[in-house]
Amino acid sequence: MGREKVSLWQIFAVFAKIGTFTIGGGYAMIPIIQREMSRRGWISDEELPDIVALSQSAPGVMAVNISIFAGYRLRGIPGSIAATLGSITPSFLIILAIAMFFSAFRDNPWVERAFKGIRPVVISLILVPMVNMARKACTSWWKWALAVASLVLVAFLNVSPIYILLVVIIMGFSVTYYSGRWKR
């Protein structure tokens, strides 16, 4: 594409910077990636939506998927390794520091009291993205049934989510295939 060769270290450093400033989920990261990529001429604003779409459809953490894809665009497989390591290193170091610190402070009465307030709130912070996703994903009665069934199976019957996902992938694939829409 006529781009000059970017050094692996540079790729690592830019993605480490992006990783440091992402708080919360992958979507918060998109504007930051956009700015960093277009400023350097690495990925154009027109290319980015495709990369985001692709990263959402692959399993795993979206932010990491974007790094893998962008790194690959820049320098092939070595580039994607540099980008991946870059985007996970800041989290890794920060979390390690906190984990070591927290294991020493967990029994501190102040910390204990703070976490008594935090724990119920975390549950709501899991429910909110779920509701938002449900509004987009559950567009018919059978999709609601699928959501409720997987909730009940995992929460009350201790079925592993991995089995549920495998069964749903096979079912969704076969139904789409045999309904003939695929052939058109």
Partner: protein, 200 residues
């Protein structure tokens, strides 16, 4: 020797989590929780809840944060050694990323065809609602414990997370603040920490 087998189990567990996470960080949390708290019982519900809170507050993708933290906790709890914890977090994080890495590189090769495929979109139409249910289950498991006595379920509250009526109040307030008021989750967690110190 025991530590080595634990590390191998951890690597396999997080490889599976990475391979089966469809739908972002919260979907990943439900898988991590199921593997680590329910299936292997490496850590307790309340310890996992703390990990989720810290993962939301610190920079970086929430799934990576939770994997790093969980990897550390599992090995540190088992051995009492910080450096083993560091090994655990490195193994968990790299194992988590590996499937994405392989799959992204694979689809890069023929991704325009892949994206537009009706077959792919059709399968995703089934997967997305399922993931909604899995995330819901993650929240439910942090509130209710189910024990099966033959065919009769026995429900009990997870007392570490839901201590009393004030916990329900905080939970409701956080939902309102996040869903309707769109307040930043970090601010909500910090507010809850302050209220925790005042109330308990």
């Amino acid at each position: 020797m025991e530590a080595v087998s634990l590390i191998l189990q951890l690597a396999w567990t997080f490889f599976l989590v990475g391979a089966f996470t469809f739908g972002g960080g919260y979907a990943m949390l439900s898988l991590i929780q199921n593997q680590v708290v329910v299936a292997h019982q490496w850590i307790s519900e309340s310890a996992f809840t703390d990990i989720v809170a810290i993962s939301q507050m610190t920079p970086g993708p929430i799934g990576i944060n939770a994997a790093t933290y969980t990897g550390y906790s599992v090995l540190y709890e088992a051995t009492g050694l910080h450096w083993m914890g560091v090994c655990g977090s490195a193994v968990a994080t790299l194992a988590l990323v590996l499937p994405s890495f392989l799959i992204v590189l694979l689809i890069v090769k023929f991704y325009t065809r892949f994206r537009k495929s009706t077959l792919f979109e059709g399968t995703m139409g089934w997967l997305r609602p399922t993931v909604v249910g899995l995330i819901g289950a993650a929240a439910v498991i942090l509130v209710v414990r189910t024990a099966w006595n033959g065919c009769v379920p026995e429900f009990s509250l997870v007392r570490e997370n839901i201590i009393d009526w004030k916990s329900w109040l905080l939970m409701g307030a956080a939902f309102v603040a996040s869903y309707w008021k769109k307040i930043n989750p970090i601010l909500i967690i910090l507010g809850a920490a302050a209220l925790g110190v005042l109330l308990y």
